[in-house]
């Protein structure tokens, strides 16, 4: 990573540090203060949006490890999130186990199911692998709908509030702290994973799996490890989603959701830790602004619009923004951010 002019690393510890300069630390603490005081200045609605962003971010970070770092395309991510959500729901509702047990088991179960569907990745890749992960999406949802004695089937299943010990996360603000803390841990894990031997092996597999194998990287092990980690995070996200919403049925985990997750990491920037953060925040906020502000504003103010036009604008505009993004910045928001930082560091010189 490039450093600002005049900044040097003199030890390995400095070289490995995520936050290297005083400015980094100040900005980081400023961000943390802003984040953790959010319940003081945000209403329940915006805290709800923040919670949704946090949960989506965990799942997208997992998908980014699988697809962005390791190059294994998965179009069944919503299915793996469903596995986590239902595992947690069943353990905390039917077996009345503590939330933390549900949370961990949700990750492990989703990771295990991910391993099963990841096995074909050893023999197939690209579009062929995408089709096998779509199969995961359909099979998982079918099982959830038809194993009704356990999952509630089409009726669905209630999920209690998350709780740790005697503390119950009832308010939106307390749920925000829970979700944001777990999100931060997941991002920290992903950031560090990318810098380890495992992360470098993932990147080698993504860039050229044959060359990686020749270098001694065990493709079977690392591809399945990527599936496990990606799906483990999806399971954690699913568990948090279940306890946040309080009621699950399989219709909440559609193929459209899975595709949206792919869109988020592409718009944010594949293969970077920052990418999913920017992509998720961008997509979720765009959805909210279009739905909550833009369409009702059009309906209220431009009454001459033909029937249904205002609502039709939402998917059109949503699609248009994504297309423009892919055309103008195919390397994602993370790349744009990197350019901005470089320009700031070199300013006033262009090159």
């Amino acid at each position: 990573m490039s450093l600002p002019s005049g900044t040097r690393n003199y030890t390995y510890a400095q070289d490995m540090a995520i936050l290297r300069t005083r400015t980094h630390w100040v900005l980081f603490f400023g961000f943390l203060v802003l984040l953790f005081t959010a319940p003081l200045y945000l209403g329940n609605y915006w805290l709800g949006v923040a919670n949704l962003i946090g949960i989506t971010l965990i799942a997208a970070t997992g998908l980014n490890i699988l697809t962005g770092y390791c190059g294994q395309l998965s179009i069944g991510h919503a299915g793996f999130i469903a596995v986590g959500a239902y595992t947690s729901a069943i353990l905390t509702n039917r077996l009345e186990l503590p939330f933390l047990v549900g949370l961990i088991c949700a990750g492990l179960t989703a990771g295990f199911i991910g391993l099963i569907f990841g096995i074909p990745s050893v023999r197939v890749k690209g579009f062929y692998l995408a089709i096998t992960t779509i199969a995961a999406q359909f099979i998982i949802i079918w099982v959830i709908n038809h194993w009704s004695a356990l999952t509630g089937g089409f009726v669905g299943i209630k999920v209690p509030y998350a709780s740790i010990g005697s503390f119950v996360f009832k308010s939106e603000a307390s749920q925000f702290y829970l979700i944001i803390t777990i999100t931060a841990l997941c991002i920290f894990f992903a950031k560090n994973l990318a810098r380890t031997k495992v992360g470098r092996a993932f990147i080698a597999v993504r860039d050229n799996d044959l060359a990686a194998q020749v270098m001694g990287i065990n493709l079977f092990y690392y591809k399945l490890l990527a599936f496990f980690i990606g799906c483990f995070m999806a399971g954690i996200a699913g568990s948090l989603l279940a306890h946040w919403i309080g009621f699950m049925n399989a219709e909440q985990f559609s193929l459209t959701e899975s595709i949206l997750y792919i869109g988020m990491i592409i718009i944010g920037g594949l293969g970077t830790t920052l990418g999913p953060i920017l992509g998720v925040v961008f997509i979720r906020l765009l959805q909210q602004i279009l739905t909550v502000e833009f369409v009702p504003f059009l309906e209220r103010t431009i009454t001459a619009l033909p029937s249904g036009f205002a609502t039709g604008v939402t998917p059109m505009l949503f699609g248009l923004v994504i297309v423009l993004f892919l055309v103008l910045e195919p390397r994602g928001l993370a790349h744009r951010w990197a350019l901005l930082k470089s320009a700031y560091r070199l300013w006033p010189f262009s090159y």
Partner: protein, 419 residues
């Protein structure tokens, strides 16, 4: 070319600033004493063909209430309407916004959207009204109320009608079920499992299941035919229902068995898709009147539809959501009369409790005859409990009964019902 990029960047920044400024534009609008309600419809997404006219019906009724009736008890009704795109994540944040904005109650059209958000509303004691209703939404009763009877009630009403008026044979009639693979279909199965034995009907289980996009059900119907049923009950939407009846016709299963349909399936679209000859004699259950029927509430709905959304004319979903807004207005009127405006002005849990106690639970409203009367019975959160049995005769969907009250089924007392 050199100057294009700054223009694009400037344009993008301008668009972002405009979008970000919208909340402040709304916030700067002059405040007046209003009664806020939240309405969310799937006006885009997979159910837009139903959600879009329903959103129009909701908002047109509010327009009528404010312009012609002077609002409710002198206060204009302010509808916070949001499209949910038939997306669970969106509807969750929509309902949180309703609560944050001080809405007094909220309404959804689809059972799927309500199931995604009902627990949030129940936890907060925020009263909700759902148009298309499923047992899971109101059993056990909490803070969600059904505007109309649920998909299980359709089955119960049809089964009771069949036993009283059609079945002449000895012993128990044998009923096969063909269900859409969601709450629309499985709501009927819940009712069948709960009441078939009491009504003296033998169920041929497992039920056949189909998807909304099915193109052939020859296999499943061949299996059903071997079971020699007397009744085939279909709980689904019009297109798959048409496929099933056409296939049953081709297999010689129908005519022969009696076919009954839930309210999501028996519409004009079914006759158009399947053909009048093929669906001749099919029975169905529906909870509202037909478009243009001579009932007091119809004239204004038709007038506003022609004036504001002429493309929705003839659409029964428009009528149901018009009725939904009228019911919400009546709930507000009762609450204002009983507790005054000040309690409702807060838009908090105290206001929501007042809405339930003094509005919803004192409701006794005929909805202008658009559907069965809406009233509250303790322990039963279905506000309208009435359906009518229809039969398709020469391409027309004609009522063969007056309003039939669907009995309450306490699903939660069955161990197989969702915990």
């Amino acid at each position: 070319m050199k100057h294009k990029r700054p223009i694009i960047v400037a344009g993008a920044i301008l668009l972002a600033v405009m979008l970000a400024a919208l909340p402040f534009v709304s916030a700067c609008a002059p405040k007046e004493k209003t009664l806020k309600i939240g309405i969310t419809t799937p006006s885009t997404g997979a159910a837009a063909e139903k959600g879009s006219p329903m959103g129009h019906g909701n908002l047109d009724a509010i327009e009528y209430i404010n312009t012609e009736l002077g609002g409710v008890a002198g206060y204009p009704v302010e509808a916070v309407w949001l499209d949910n795109g038939y997306d669970a994540a969106k509807v969750v944040t929509n309902v949180k916004k309703f609560m944050d904005d001080g809405c007094l109650l909220f309404a959804t059209s689809s059972s799927k959207m309500m199931s995604a958000t009902m627990e949030i509303a129940n936890r907060a004691e925020f009263p909700g009204l759902v148009c298309f209703n499923a047992p899971v939404l109101h059993r056990p009763p909490q803070h969600i109320y059904g505007q109309m009877p649920d998909y299980g009630d359709d089955w119960a009403a049809f089964a009771a009608y069949y036993m009283e008026n059609i079945w002449k044979g000895p012993g128990k009639p044998r009923m096969a079920l063909h269900l859409l693979n969601n709450t629309t279909g499985y709501g009927a199965l819940d009712a069948a499992k709960a009441s078939a034995e009491r009504l003296g009907i033998e169920l041929l289980l497992p039920a056949a299941e189909h998807t909304p996009t099915t193109t052939s059900e020859i296999d499943s119907l061949t299996r059903i035919k071997t079971l020699n049923p007397d009744i085939l009950y279909i709980s689904s939407t019009p297109a798959p229902t048409a496929v099933i009846i056409k296939n049953a016709f081709e297999l010689g299963l129908y005519p022969g068995v009696t076919i009954g349909l839930g309210h999501a399936g028996i519409t004009k679209a079914l006759v158009d898709i399947a053909g009048a000859d093929i669906v001749e004699g099919v029975y169905g259950v529906f909870p509202t009147v037909n478009w243009g029927d001579d009932v007091p509430g119809m004239a204004k709905a038709v007038e506003y539809c022609r004036k504001l959304h002429p493309k929705d004319e003839g659409n029964l979903d428009y009528i149901t959501s018009w009725a939904q807004s009228m019911i919400m207005a009546e709930i507000l009127r009762l609450t204002v009369e009983n507790v005054g405006y000040d309690v409702l002005a807060k838009g908090d849990v105290e206001s929501w409790r007042a809405i339930e106690t003094y509005g919803i639970q004192r409701l006794n409203y005929d909805v202008g005859g658009l559907h069965g009367p809406a009233s509250y019975t303790p322990g039963d959160n279905r506000l309208s409990k009435s359906v009518r049995i229809f039969q398709i005769q020469s391409g027309e969907i004609n009522p063969v009964t007056d309003w039939v009250e669907a009995p309450l089924v306490k699903y939660e007392e069955f161990e197989w019902f969702g915990k």
